[in-house]
């Protein structure tokens, strides 16, 4: 099925909305009525049609507008894209993987034609048709990672593996939940997760690191993370906190449904073949409360999750100012009936 790409904004007038079909395929991250950190990783394999697992790199109706927003962010702050010099081989690995996956999943929108190291990449939604030499960065308008991440939804990081650790050594980060690539680049796994509360003490990061160091080629894995955002703003970077921070004071019982968004990250991790690095895709999905309660199971479950959230997480995720208002509004959509296990709508 061909996608109808929406023209919408993630800033200023915030015209971003999900179509009813897109709400049904939203990756709702709670499989029960409460939440706590865990090493919630599972194999990233294809799933049912009509879900975000239909393809391993998901392209949806927001693709074109998201790519425009990324270009705007980079125009203001080019440091959102950075790669350390030793990551060039991993950059090519990433370009190959993302081109292959998008072309395989959406042949009507993307085409990759390979003739030895002469490659032709056609991206119809963005009007791109480029021929280049694989392995020769001078034949592309940007470095390979910047080139392909300007054409892929989600933040794209590449993590180097050495000395029994993982290192945040390259990335395109414009749709982040309040972390700075410019500050964190070059850090190891424990360092860049340093500010996360609770999880260190319960050993989550040690187990996750051990697991990822053994990630196998051809066997990607995935996990969810989530937070909440006021207005459908992709760029909630620490750099721009003075711009989006004040939004948190604007939530009222009247505008909860439209302003408050569940922000879900579908994180996928892929071993790369030449560099042995790990590609880390952090794909952000936004859905406002009005849209969320259109699925009765989620309308019951989400207020229950918010009510039982540990205070440290409420603070870390920045929900303090508007959590109660949101719970009050959502609870009017929760009839108290039990919810079925699992993520999916009934």
């Amino acid at each position: 099925m061909s996608l109808a790409f929406k023209q919408e904004t993630f800033r200023d007038d915030f015209t971003y909305r999900n179509s009813p079909e897109n709400i049904r395929r939203f990756p709702f991250p709670f499989d029960r009525d409460e939440y706590m950190y865990s090493v919630n990783m599972e194999p990233h394999v294809k799933g049912r049609a009509g879900t975000v697992y239909e393809n391993l790199i998901d392209v949806d109706e927001h693709y074109v507008s998201e790519m425009r927003d990324r270009a705007l962010v980079l125009k203001e702050d080019p440091l959102r894209y950075q790669a350390l010099p030793h990551m060039m081989s991993a950059q090519w690995d990433t370009l190959e993987l993302l081109m292959e996956q998008q072309a395989a999943g959406y042949p009507e929108h993307f085409t990759l034609i390979r003739n030895g190291d002469q490659w032709r990449w056609i991206n119809r939604p963005l009007g791109i048709d480029d021929t280049f030499t694989f392995g020769d960065a001078a034949t592309l308008p940007y470095e390979p990672l910047e080139y392909i991440s300007r054409q892929t939804q989600g933040d794209i990081c590449i993590v180097d593996q050495r000395d029994g650790n993982l290192w945040m050594d390259a990335g395109m980060v414009t749709t982040q939940a309040d972390w700075s690539l410019d500050f964190d680049i070059g850090m190891n796994f424990m360092e860049w997760h340093g500010p996360v509360p609770l999880a260190h003490q319960i050993g989550v990061f040690e187990r996750a690191l051990k697991f990822l160091l053994n990630l196998q080629l051809g066997k990607p894995v995935r996990r969810f993370n989530w937070t909440m955002t006021i207005n459908p703003r992709l760029d909630t970077s620490p750099e721009n906190y003075p711009k989006w921070g004040p939004d948190r004071t604007t939530v009222t019982p009247e505008n909860v449904g439209e302003k408050v968004h569940l922000r879900v990250e579908l994180q996928t991790l892929w071993r790369l073949p030449r560099s042995n690095a790990i590609l880390f895709v952090i794909r952000c999905y936004l859905m406002n409360m009005e849209e969320l309660v259109s699925v009765p199971k989620w309308a019951r479950r989400f207020p229950r999750v918010l009510k039982t959230l540990p205070p440290e997480l409420v603070d870390y995720k920045g929900l303090t100012r508007y959590r109660q208002t949101t719970i009050d509004w959502l609870s009017t959509h929760d009839d108290g009936a039990p919810t079925s296990p699992g993520f999916w709508p009934d």
């Binding site: 440091l79 700075s180 410019d182 500050f183 964190d184 680049i185 070059g186 850090m187 424990m190 360092e191 860049w192 997760h193 340093g194 500010p195 260190h200 620490p238 750099e239 721009n240 906190y241 003075p242 921070g245 004040p246 948190r248 004071t249 100012r321």
Partner: protein
Amino acid sequence: MLVEGIKSRPVYKGLVLQPYARRHLFVLEGEGANALLDQADQLDETILSRSEVLYVARGSQGQGHDEALRRLGADMFFTAPTIATLLFRLKVSLSNAHMGTRLYIAGTEGFIGQAMTVALDLGMADAAILTEHRGSLARRVQCVHCKGMTEDVTQSPFACSHCGLPLLVRDHYSRRLGAFQGVNIDAEEPGSAPEPEELFL
């Protein structure tokens, strides 16, 4: 003692002399001079003949250490007027260094961070660098908004010396920048910043 438990902050293990190194490069700031002077009795002829000492005094602290350091009798000794001058000299010394060189850095955390950055940029291995924290607990802080660096921060929140925003000093440290992260504390309600507290004296 520095606050413990900050995952991204390096551990400064102390200047342990490496007797078999081919060359010893000591880079010392202010009270950091004492990290070397305290073990002067272990500096034999061999070590001294292979040693280069670069020193910068720091405000009123550390005055007088330059004479004591000079009297050690290292192969080379240089007193820099400013940290920038010292780092420039360090760059040249490291560019000409051979395998088997050990770098010893002592002083405030901001200074250690800056000297480390020079060494790592020149491809020096972590294992060849020894560090010791001495002197003030003041932090070097990067404003995440304007990216400007403010030296010798002892309070949180404090006003960014570049863009003026009141910044909370987070316990999040970047080795590459040699700095802690400063984040606008009253972004959600401008004007609501709490009174500064002296936290890093």
